[in-house]
Structure formats: C-alpha cells, structure tokens
C-alpha cells in the first residue's frame, strides 16, 4: 500500500463498510457503532492526510491512477488539490456528525440506514477526488441513490413527492452532463481531467453548468430544494445542503472554469446575474419562511448564489473566498439542520409560529443556536464574514454593482437569521413548547459542539483555508493553468 492510496481508502473504506453492514446481521447498536466508528476513522485518515499535504505544491497530490477501460481512455484517477482536500474534510466531518445523529435518534431499519449513509460518504468523497470525467460522473450519480432512498424511506409525510422532484431535477441536469462528457471526451481523446484540453464549445459548457446549477442550486433551478430539505430526515438535510450542494459548486471550480475558459467569460454576466438573483431571492424567501428548516434551506440557496458569485467573479479574492465560504457554510448548515432536528424532536414541529421562548431553561440549546446563527449571519470576525468579505471584494473587482447587491443580501441574512433565533429562542413561549422539552442532551452536544468549535477555530484563523486552497497567491492563474 503506497502513501497515495489513502485517497482511494477514503472513498472505498465507507463503501466497504456499507457492504459489511448490509451483509452481517448485526444488532442495531452494533451497526450504529460500526458506522460511527468508520466515519470517525475517515476523519482520522483525513487529518493525517491534511497533515502531510504540501500546500505550496500546485499539482495533484495523493494521486492514484489505473486504467478502467483503455479504448475510450477512461481511467480510475483520483487525487486531491488543496481545495478538494478542504471539501473532503467537510464531507467526512459532516458525515460523521450526520451518522452520529442517526445513531443518537435510533433510526429504524438500522442496517439499511447506516449502510446507505456510509455509501453516501464514499460516493461524496469520490466526487471531490475524481480526476476522470466518467469517474466523476459515476460518483456524482452514485450520491443520488442513497439520498433518494434515505429521503424516501426515513423522510416526512410528503417524502414521496419530494424524492420524485429531487431526482427528476437533478437527473435532468446530470444526464445532459453525461451527453456533454461523452462529446468532450471523444473530442479530446481522453476523459482525464488533468490531461484533458480546454474546450471553446458553449454547448458543452452549458451541459456541464446545467448539472451544476441544479445541484448547487441556483435560481431558477431550485424547485427541488424546499421539499427535499423539509421532508428529508434532519441529518440528511444537513448533508444535502452542507455537502452535496457543494458538489455542484465544486464542479464549477474543478471542471467548468479551467476547461471552458472562453465560454465561462462569455456567459459570465449571465451566471453572475443568476448568482445574485439566488442570493437576493433566497434571502427574501428565508425571511418569509414559516418554519425552521425552510429558513435554513432558503439561506442555503442564498449562500450557493454567493459562492457562485465568488467563483465566477474570476478574481483571486473571489476564488479564495468561495472555497472558504463553501467550507464555512457547509459546517454552519450542518449544525443548523441538526439543531433544527433536535428542536423538532422536542416540539414535533418546526413551525416558527408555534415555537418560541426555548432559551429559558435550555442554556446549551440557546448558546449553540446563538453561536452558529451569529456565525451564519456573518458577524465581523466570523468565518462566514471572512468568506463573504473575500467574495464581495472579488465581485467588487469585477464590477461594483455585484458587490453592492451582495452586501445588500448580507443585511437580509442578518434579518432572517435574527428572526429565526428570536422566533425559536425568545419571544413568548410557543404553544408546542412544554417543560418536557429538555435541553440538548449529551449525545446531541457531542455532535454539535465539535462542529461549532471547528467554526470558531475557522473564525479565528480563516486564512488557514483561504490562503491554502490554491498553491501560491494567484488562484486565477491556477485555474487558467488547469491546476496542472
């Protein structure tokens, strides 16, 4: 086993563990423990990998390559760049928290449930490390299968409609991407992302972008989002908005920007307009949303817009900020969805009109929601503030009005997040809030506190990510050089 195979290990360990969980007739407790253990081992492997990562080196690291089938030049090629390393880290941490949450609430049909969560972990890591287009596509699609079943089986009352909508939307995008991949690969003579040339085809650009803007999502392709985020089990919503949505944004960064430079600048204004529209529209919807998860769901739409604004600003600051914001928002949204799940378990509902006054007698819940919420609304000094500031500075370099729209939307973010906090924690005691609704228990604290701690650490030292995502201080030239 070479040192580079740790990337493959991060992908295949959880998938192997999923098979073990499915095949062995373990008890519910043993299954859950095994899944949590594997997800923690993943975090361990990632930390070990991050410690050995050379952030000054611009090429692919921890790479592994082998032929998959040679006549069309498709290979099994995995490896990491600095920005993929951060997203892999986000994935393993978020999945560990989500699996832990599933264990804590004791999901029924545990073997199926934990197997699917582990499969989802492997597939998502696979998306972030694939360096071959067909492999990327395979993992991109493989994420959908466990998500579909997780939402459809363990979701809320409206789950069937939500799964259909979710799948039809995302598959429309990804199948057009498959067509684009076939055309790109046959024209280029290889499906490899590192070796592959740039393309000037606008059709191919649109094929890829279509998949990514649906996944991210950006306005007006977000039709699947509210239902899926509301009906999924909270830990799956957390993963969906925190990690899976980032796969779409990652695709823009890894594939679209470096491989389609001319179409990217041709459509830049259009994409920036969509991003700005998502930012404003998502924030407004979040402000009007009647329930806890709706606020977080629409704020995710807004944040996707913000990140896309950074990516397509085509500036160094924007790219740095986008990567930082992907990680920061990922952690924020995982924490918020888990807290939402905890609140819903205590009150049976997320309706803001019925909640209120939960801060009294529940200091841990109040403190954590407050901390995460304040980070989320980008209070100066927080990780989100650093990310959003960089993105807006990058957007400003493109044209001042993009930054103006973005800054306006940040005010909206403060409005919807403070509305959420006060509707849950403060105001008069809600009709469904009883004295039986306990404070966060030890198990829940063990999940959310580490996430909040990582966020606080990131707030203290945002440059840890924003200066370590692209080798050197010139992300734009790294993108132009196709990360070679």
């Amino acid at each position: 086993m070479t040192i580079n195979s740790v990337t493959s290990l991060l992908v295949w360990l959880p998938i192997g563990a999923a098979l073990v969980v499915w095949l062995l007739p373990l008890s519910r407790y043993a299954t859950g423990s095994l899944a949590v253990l594997v997800s923690l081992v993943e975090v361990g492997f990632w930390i070990e990998q991050a410690a050995r990562f050379d952030f000054g080196h611009s090429g692919l690291q921890f790479a592994q390559r082998g032929s998959w089938f040679s006549d069309l030049h498709v290979s099994y090629h995995v490896g990491e760049y600095a920005f993929s390393l951060w997203l892999v880290g986000l994935t393993v941490v978020a999945m560990a928290a989500a699996i832990g949450y599933g264990f804590w609430v004791g999901r029924d049909r545990s073997r199926a449930y934990f197997g699917l969560m582990l499969l989802l972990t492997g597939a998502t890591v696979g998306v972030f490390v694939s360096q071959d287009l067909l492999l990327f596509y395979a993992f991109f699609e493989a994420m959908l299968i466990p998500l579909y079943i997780l939402i459809g089986v363990w979701g809320g009352a409206g789950r069937l409609g939500a799964t259909v909508k979710f799948l039809i939307y995302t598959m429309t995008g990804s199948l057009l991407m498959l067509a684009a991949i076939i055309v790109y690969g046959l024209q280029a003579g290889t499906f490899d992302l590192v070796d592959g040339p740039t393309s000037a085809s606008r059709w191919l650009f649109l094929g890829f972008m279509f998949a990514f803007v649906i996944k991210a999502p950006l306005f007006p392709f977000h039709g699947w989002l509210p239902d899926a985020y509301r009906e999924a089990p909270p830990e799956v919503s957390a993963v969906l908005s925190g990690v899976i949505a980032k796969a779409g944004l990652y695709g823009m960064l890894r594939i679209v920007l470096p491989k389609f430079p001319d179409p990217s600048s041709y459509y830049r204004t259009a994409i920036l307009a969509l991003a700005a529209a998502s930012l404003v529209y998502g924030s407004l919807l979040a402000f009007r949303s009647p329930d806890f998860r709706g606020v977080v769901a629409y704020s995710s739409l807004a944040q996707s817009g913000l990140i896309a604004l950074g990516l397509f600003s085509g500036t160094n600051l924007g790219l740095d900020g986008a990567v930082l914001q992907m990680v920061a928002h990922g952690l924020v949204s995982v924490s918020l969805f888990l807290i939402a799940g905890a609140v819903e378990r205590r009150t049976t509902t997320g309706e803001l009109a019925l909640l209120g006054g939960m801060a009294r007698g529940r200091p841990a819940l109040a403190t954590l929601l407050m901390v995460v919420g304040v980070i989320s609304l980008a209070v100066p000094g927080s990780a989100s503030f650093a990310g959003e500031f960089l993105v807006l500075a990058g957007a400003f370099q493109r044209a001042w009005w993009w930054a103006a729209i973005g800054a306006g939307a940040i005010v909206l973010a403060a409005m919807y997040m403070l509305r959420l906090i006060s509707a849950v924690l403060h105001e008069a005691r809600g009709s469904v809030v009883t004295d039986d609704a306990l404070d966060l228990r030890a198990g829940e604290l063990a999940l959310v506190v580490p996430l909040a701690a990582v966020l606080l650490a990131l707030s203290a030292f945002p440059a840890g990510i924003s200066h370590h995502s692209f080798a050197g201080d010139q992300p734009t030239s790294a993108v132009q050089g196709q990360f070679r």
Binding site: S67, L72, A138, E141, T163, L175, L178
Partner: protein
C-alpha cells in the same frame, strides 16, 4: 450417392450438447418415475447448459481466425462463441429459477398434476437455446431462417406451457401469430435478396452487390427492409413490439426472463452479423433505418411504461426501450458500435433476467400477478431480492450501480463517434423518462407501507412458500454479473472487441 460436406463437429458442439441434453430430458418424461422427474430434468438441463458454456468458451479460445464451416452454412468465430456463452449462461440461470416454478404452480393448478410436463418444459428450453446458439452463427439465409423457426417454435410452446395459468395460452397464441408474421417478413425478405443477388451466403451477397453494381437495387432494398423488420420483431423493437407486453405478461415468468434476455441477444448479435457482412454497401440505408427504429423504441417503450401498473408489463416496455438503446449502438455501424452492443448485452441480459426472476419469486409468494400495489413492502420482507431488484432497476436506468451504466455510455459514445450527436440527446432524454417508472418500482418496494397493499397477502394465498435457494443463487449470479461488469469493463470489452474482429467493419 450424395456428397456430404465435411463437418467440423467441434464448431457445432455447443448446439449438439444442448440438443443431446434436450433429448435426454425428453426421454426422462417417459422413463423416469414422476416423483423424480423434476429433479432429473432440471439436473439434465443444468448439466446441458453448463456443458454448453464449457464448449462455447473453448470455441471462443480456439477460434481466433473466424471462418465458415459445414458447406459454408455456419460461422465458427468468436462473435458466435461469445454470444453462445451469454445464451447458455442465461439458460443455466433460467433452469435454476424454473425448478420450483414451472409448469403448473398457477392459482388454479392441480397440485397432483404438477410434475406431468416438467420434463418437456426443460427439454423445450434446451432445444430453444440450441436453436438460438445455432441462429447466432448462421452464415446463410437458409440456416438463418431454419434456426429462427427452430427457436421460435420452441418459444411458442414454452409461452403456452402453463395452460393452467391465466394468459399463458393466450400469450403463446399471440406470440405464434405475430411471430409468424415476423418470420414471414424475414423469409420474404430473404427470397427477394436471393432473387436480386442469386446468393444466399452472407459474404456472397455482399460480393454480388459489389460485383454486379446492385447497390440501391429496388428488389435488394425491399428485401433488406423486410429482413430488418423481421429481426426487429424478434428483438421487440418498436414499431414491431406490439406482442411484447402481452406475451411477457402472459408467459410463465421464468420463460419471460429467458425470452427477455436470450431472444434479444440472439436477434441483435445476428442482426449485426448479417447487416455488416451482407449489406455493408447499403449501410447508409440500414443505419438510418435502425436509428429510426431506435428512436421509436425509446419513445414508445418509455412512454408506455409510464402508465403501467403490472410489473411484468413495465419490464416488458423497458425491454422495448432497451432494444432502442442497443440499436443505437447497432445503428452506428462501426466497430465501436459493434463491441458496444456486445458489451451492453452482458449486463443487460443479467439485469433483464434478474429482474424477472425477482418478479417470479414475488408472484409465487402472492399467487397472483405482481403489480405496483402488491409489491409494497417487498424490499423489507425479502431484503436480498429487494436489494438485487434495485440494483437491476437502477442499472436499467443507467445509474452507476452496474455495467448498464457503462453499456449506455458505450452505445452513446458510438453514436457520437458516428457523428450522430442528436441520437445522444435522444438517448439521454429517454433515460430521463425511464427513471420515473424504474423508480416507481423501487418506491413501491421500499417506500409504501405494506398496509397499503391490497387484500391479497401471503397468508391469504396459503402462506409464503419456503425460500428457494436456487432462485436466490440465480439472482445472485445475475447481480454479480451486472455489478461486476462495472468494475471489469476492460476484460469484458476486450472479449467483445475480439469477438467483433470477426465482423467485417
């Protein structure tokens, strides 16, 4: 004294093994006591198919240079041999699921008469497979038609064999009538081609077309069109698919499983052979014809499947739509298209067979036709079969859970390589539509509570039958092939490429 040609017995060994087994099974119907008839016939069938796999693998290894044997009537080459391996494997798996199922387990079946015709069933299955293994190696229009009728007649009887089962007789009759029409078209087409060229051997036809400047000749083109129609009938491609849903629904489910996998393999393998070998100069005609048929199959198969409730009918329409996908590869008319089709047939036959085998298990458990309603909760009650089923269905839909994904990728790549980007778009859109009904089955199995199921429960139907180890083995094999072909793309595509070298691309 009639001069007999030299016979290369090894070239037809697979056919002989299957025919021999068929004869022994038939003898069993008279000589073996009734109590032992079922295990005896099944064991003979299993041994026959296993022997067929061995001889055809041997033939593949030993036939690097393809040539015609026995008075130029049969091809001994890798294209034939690989198709024979697939056909015998499907036959072997069908034997496994047939042991407990066929014939006479239907609702009205008289239990005491259950074993009356079991040996005939296996005998026919072997004979049918023998006909198909001959069909895929046919080298002239005569052997083509003979072997087509050979396996078709066996299939007509197999469809109707469960005469206690509602719809089985009807299915047999319907298949007979419509199938005869297809055979007639093919025969008429062959006659016209013979009339135009004066030859029946596949390469001789091409030589005659080239030598006499017959390209575009009206009689030849008409003959080609009728041959294309006849083959499209057999591969259940639209608009020649009308029999498919009714026959697939009515036939005993193991027979359906066999038909959906094996008939398509035989028809498409032979179609590629005859079109490439005999009608290479007319490729501008038949590539467009098959592209049209592919688009029609994709459209009709997928749209019709959306409104079905009976799972066998859904899968039948899915089979029509897959004929469309496979024909995309065929219509490219290139070596890439050829090996794409051959590769795709491997996971496709595993998935098609496997999905019908799972339906057979559920059908037996309920004692009635499987619909989306009474499939509710199946995934949780039978975890292995449920998981296998979702692997097959997601594989059909082209999600990366099996070789179906790579197969789809390959045929679409072949279409683009041929310069038909529009066909790639059509294929992609068809996949999108197909997702809805494949996921509908998964949804029914896992996401609807069992309480929503209709009145008929296993308890009402006389209790769940015991778990069938052999059926599980067969489904497990299909699952292994379907998932394994995602990882072992290179070896399988090499097999297909070497096989396709036998064709004059």
């Amino acid at each position: 004294m009639i001069a007999t040609p030299h016979v290369d017995w090894f070239a037809i060994s697979t056919i002989l093994v299957l025919l021999g087994a068929s004869g022994i099974a038939l003898l069993g119907a008279v000589l073996v006591p009734r109590a032992l008839r079922r295990p005896f016939a099944a064991a003979v069938a299993a041994a026959g198919f296993a022997g067929g796999i061995v001889t055809s693998v041997w033939l593949y290894v030993d036939s690097v240079d393809g040539h015609r044997v026995i008075a130029n009537g049969f091809y001994r080459d890798r294209w034939t041999a690989l198709a024979q391996v697939i056909l015998c494997s499907v036959g072997f798996a069908t034997t496994l699921i047939s042991v407990e199922h066929v014939p006479g387990w239907g609702r009205n079946a008289d239990r005491s008469r259950r074993d009356d015709h079991v040996a005939e069933y296996f005998s026919l299955l072997l004979a049918c497979a023998a006909g198909m293994t001959f069909f895929v190696g046919a080298a002239n229009l005569m052997t083509l038609f003979l072997s087509l009728e050979w396996f078709s007649i066996a299939l007509y009887v197999l469809c109707a064999i469960d005469y206690d089962l509602e719809g089985s007789l009807e299915a047999g009759l319907k298949y007979l009538v419509v199938g005869s029409f297809g055979s007639a078209a093919l025969l008429f087409g062959s006659a016209l081609v013979y009339g135009a060229t004066g030859s029946i051997g596949f390469p001789e036809i091409a030589n005659a077309v080239g030598g006499q400047g017959l390209s575009g000749d009206l009689m030849l083109v008409l003959g080609l069109a009728l041959i294309v129609a006849g083959l499209a009938f057999k591969s259940s491609a639209a608009p020649f698919h009308m029999w498919t849903p009714d026959v697939y629904e009515g036939a005993p489910t193991p027979v359906t499983a066999f038909m959906s996998a094996a008939t398509k393999v035989a028809a498409l393998v032979l179609a590629l052979r005859v079109l490439e070998t005999s009608f290479g100069q007319e490729s501008h005609l038949w590539t467009w014809a098959f592209a049209g048929i592919a688009v029609a199959s994709l459209a009709i198969g997928n749209l019709a499947a959306l409104v079905q409730r009976n799972v066998k009918r859904i899968l039948a329409y899915s089979s029509v739509s897959h004929a469309g996908f496979l024909l995309i590869g065929l219509s490219a008319g290139t070596a890439l298209g050829g090996r794409a089709v051959m590769f795709y047939l491997i996971p496709y036959s595993a998935m098609a067979f496997g999905s019908f085998a799972v339906v057979a298990a559920r059908e037996r458990e309920l004692g009635e036709a499987v619909t989306l309603e009474n499939l509710a909760g199946f995934g949780w009650e039978r975890p292995f079969l449920g998981v296998a089923m979702w692997f097959f269905l997601f594989g059909f839909a082209g999600l990366p859970l099996g070789g179906g994904f790579i197969g789809k990728f390959y045929v679409l790549a072949a279409a683009y390589d041929h310069g038909w980007a529009w066909l790639v778009i059509v294929g992609v859109l068809a996949t999108l539509v197909s997702l809805y009904y494949y996921l509908g089955i998964v949804r029914a199995m896992y996401m609807r509570p069992s309480a929503e199921r209709g009145l008929q429960t296993p308890a009402v139907a006389g209790g769940s039958p015991p778990r069938e180890a052999l059926l599980h083995v067969a489904v497990g094999l299909a699952l292994a092939v379907s998932v394994g072909s995602l990882f072992a793309v290179q070896p399988l595509i090499d097999l297909a490429r070497h096989a396709a070298l036998s064709l004059p691309f």
